[in-house]
């Protein structure tokens, strides 16, 4: 097993990237203001948060029951359910589906879950191109870059950089860096691909147990393209995405857009239930992914992290994230949520510095729409990290870093972090060379053949 690059080291490099810092500051300030306005507008915001936390806790307490109910409902409505205990198993399902339809490319909408399992690499290795269709993801894919924010993944790129990239790749001769012109270039490039696509791949924001419904929330319409036009759709769903009933969506569809993009509602929310003759994909595969989640469930304190609906509000208010950016966290889940989720998913011994990437100021917990006690979980994981780390040198780093985070005042914070981090590790390197930590982790696992096990067997074997 390869461990994540220590956060202090990665953070120091990121702090030197002035462009990233400026863009990030602008982005997080803007989103925070938008969020505050639409949250202030909702008179029952706290009641919605309380309901969301209660719904998710109920799901996590009875996940086996809800998963079974969901799987039965998907099958009853004409879909196929696959249980994947790790990244390799999930990727194998998608590769199999692509192969069985003889396609050499699939269209894909933004999905953190598929980033987590590094699905694109697995498809590529099998000779299938995974075309990212989200505007920001397309930018990153064209340039071999890595997301820096879960909502606006290419926020570290400004319009001139995007224009230059497009002119080099999808839109030769593109001169304007006007956002509308850039959006138009991506629309034109992707349209033909959408119209011809035979297999689409999506994640899920929510999965409804009572009806087998999958819900996806998006802005651009590329998600609708990927989930509506192809003949075949594969949706990769983390097992924590379940909600019991359709009525529960009323809570999350209010909390998510307001917390995430700071809008009353995002442009498009799609719900689909199995297959429907003459309307959308005629073959549906749902991959239910564990990949460490049941391990998280086993920790009564840390489990709360699985309530997360990936809104990114905690990133935007975090004094650490807003200075270092997402790359420093070395995972697809950056910011406060990354600091509590990644170590639990991959094992604390593989990401021991992440729980220290916080000043415990509590801003994240205040904005979290599902009321995750992020500082509480950080403290809990810090204790585990120290216990799990044998080498005294590393323990000394934790102490230094923790001291810096603990005493940091907002304005001197970044510099102090840089100095502290510089001491034990002096190394330089560009972020793009950062090895994907989860890749390293998943690559060490054997490619398990698809087990045609029933859910009950699968669950009992947990």
């Amino acid at each position: 097993m390869t461990t994540l690059r220590p956060f202090p080291l990665a953070a120091r490099e990121e702090l030197q990237n002035a462009q990233l810092r400026a863009n990030l500051r602008h982005a997080t300030d803007t989103i925070r203001a938008k969020r505050a306005r639409v949250v202030g507008e909702a008179p029952d915001w706290e009641e919605l948060r309380a309901a969301a936390a209660a719904i998710k806790d109920d799901v996590l307490a009875q996940l086996d029951r809800y998963l079974e109910q969901f799987a039965d409902a998907v099958e009853a409505s004409g879909g196929h359910v696959h249980w994947a205990e790790d990244a390799a198993a999930a990727n194998a399902v998608v590769v199999d589906v692509a192969r069985s339809h003889g396609v050499t490319s699939v269209v894909k909408m933004k999905s953190l879950t598929t980033d987590e399992i590094r699905l694109n690499e697995a498809l590529e290795a099998a000779g299938v191109e995974a075309l990212e269709t989200d505007f920001a993801e397309l930018i990153l894919q064209l340039d071999g870059d890595w997301p820096s924010h879960i909502l606006v993944p290419a926020i570290h790129r400004n319009r001139r950089e995007i224009r230059d990239l497009f002119a080099r790749t999808i839109s030769p001769g593109l001169a304007s860096d006007d956002p509308a012109a850039l959006a138009e270039a991506s629309r034109r490039y992707l349209r033909e691909r959408f119209l011809a696509a035979r297999v689409g791949v999506s994640g899920a924001n929510f999965a409804v147990a009572e009806s087998g419904t999958i819900c996806v929330v998006e802005s651009e319409g590329n998600g609708r393209m990927c989930t509506t036009l192809p003949e075949v759709l594969v949706s990769v769903v983390g097992i924590e995405k379940l909600v019991p009933t359709l009525a529960d969506l009323e809570v999350f569809l209010q909390l998510l857009p307001r917390s995430s993009t700071g809008e009353r509602m995002n442009p498009y929310t799609s719900l689909w239930t199995g297959v429907r003759a003459g309307d959308g994909p005629q073959e549906l595969h749902v991959v239910l992914l564990d990949n460490g989640r049941t391990r998280v469930l086993g920790d009564a304190t840390g489990r709360e992290a699985l309530r997360c609906i990936r809104c990114s509000a905690c990133l935007n208010v975090c004094p650490v994230y807003t200075r270092t950016g997402g790359h420093a966290y070395g995972s697809v889940y950056p910011g406060p949520i990354g600091a509590i989720l990644t170590p639990q998913l991959v094992g604390i011994e593989n990401a021991p510095t992440l729980p220290f990437a916080s000043s415990l100021c509590g801003a994240c917990a205040d904005v979290c729409p599902v009321r995750i006690d992020i500082p509480g979980i950080l403290v809990h994981l810090r204790a585990q990290a120290v216990a799990a780390t044998r080498r005294p040198g590393e323990r000394a780093v934790f102490v230094l870093v923790a001291a810096a985070f603990g005493s940091a005042r907002r304005f001197s914070f970044a510099q102090r972090l840089g100095r502290v981090a510089q001491r034990p590790f002096a190394r330089s390197g560009r972020i793009r060379s950062l090895p994907g930590p989860l890749a390293a982790w998943t690559r060490t696992r054997d490619l398990a053949p698809l087990a045609p096990r029933s859910f009950r067997d699968w669950w009992r074997a947990r």
């Binding site: 029952d44 409505s77 400004n158 629309r187 009525a247 009353r264 719900l271 959308g280």
Partner: protein, 190 residues
């Protein structure tokens, strides 16, 4: 599970309709208010001379003479792409969030037709407008549970904020959304 948040609205109908119109316009969608007998005129005002896909369930009275009505005979995506737009009804609309909700009803058609063409003209009867998100979901949940109907919530035209957080309308979905709010019950639907 205790649900202490608002599940029923408190506005009367004129307030609800006014809020809906305001919130839709906030997304930079175009709002046209009319009454049931003048829907065709309103459509003509935004789509005169255009070729629109019109699902079979849309009343003939909505379609002005100057619009070419194209049937959805299983049109291929590329054929949909060649059209100017689409004209549909909607199942329910949510005032607080300025959202229209489509469920592949006979006057809405399958999902692809409201996605591929660049202009979506949607007729919303005033009595289909509810105030809150929970009320909107409540009216479509049985369609999902019993008939497995797909549901699409549409709040403004397609958009991205990925470029320095400037909101740009229209990436892959329809770049123009026109919402015609009609003052009496019109057409059929769910």
């Amino acid at each position: 599970m205790r649900r202490a948040y608002r599940r029923a609205g408190s506005l009367d109908r004129p307030e609800r309709v006014a809020l809906f119109c305001e919130r839709v316009a906030d997304y930079r969608a175009r709002v046209v208010r009319t009454d049931a007998s003048s829907i065709a005129d309103a459509v003509a005002g935004v789509a005169d001379g255009r070729r629109l896909c019109v699902p079979d369930g849309v009343p003939a009275g909505w379609v002005p003479a100057a619009v070419e009505r194209v049937r959805d005979d299983d049109l291929a995506p590329s054929e949909l792409d060649a059209l100017d737009g689409v004209l549909t009804g909607c199942t329910v609309a949510i005032a607080e969030t300025g959202t229209i909700v489509l469920t592949s009803a006979p006057d809405e058609g399958r999902r692809a037709i409201t996605l591929v063409p660049d202009l979506h003209v949607v007729v919303v009867a005033e009595d289909r407008i509810v105030e809150l998100v929970p009320e909107g979901l409540e009216s479509v949940a049985p369609l999902v549970r019993d008939e497995h109907r797909p549901v699409t919530f549409v709040s403004g035209p397609s958009a991205t904020s990925d470029i320095e957080l400037d909101r740009v309308e229209g990436v892959h979905g329809p770049r123009s959304l026109v919402v015609i709010v009609a003052a009496e019950r019109v057409g059929s639907g769910a």
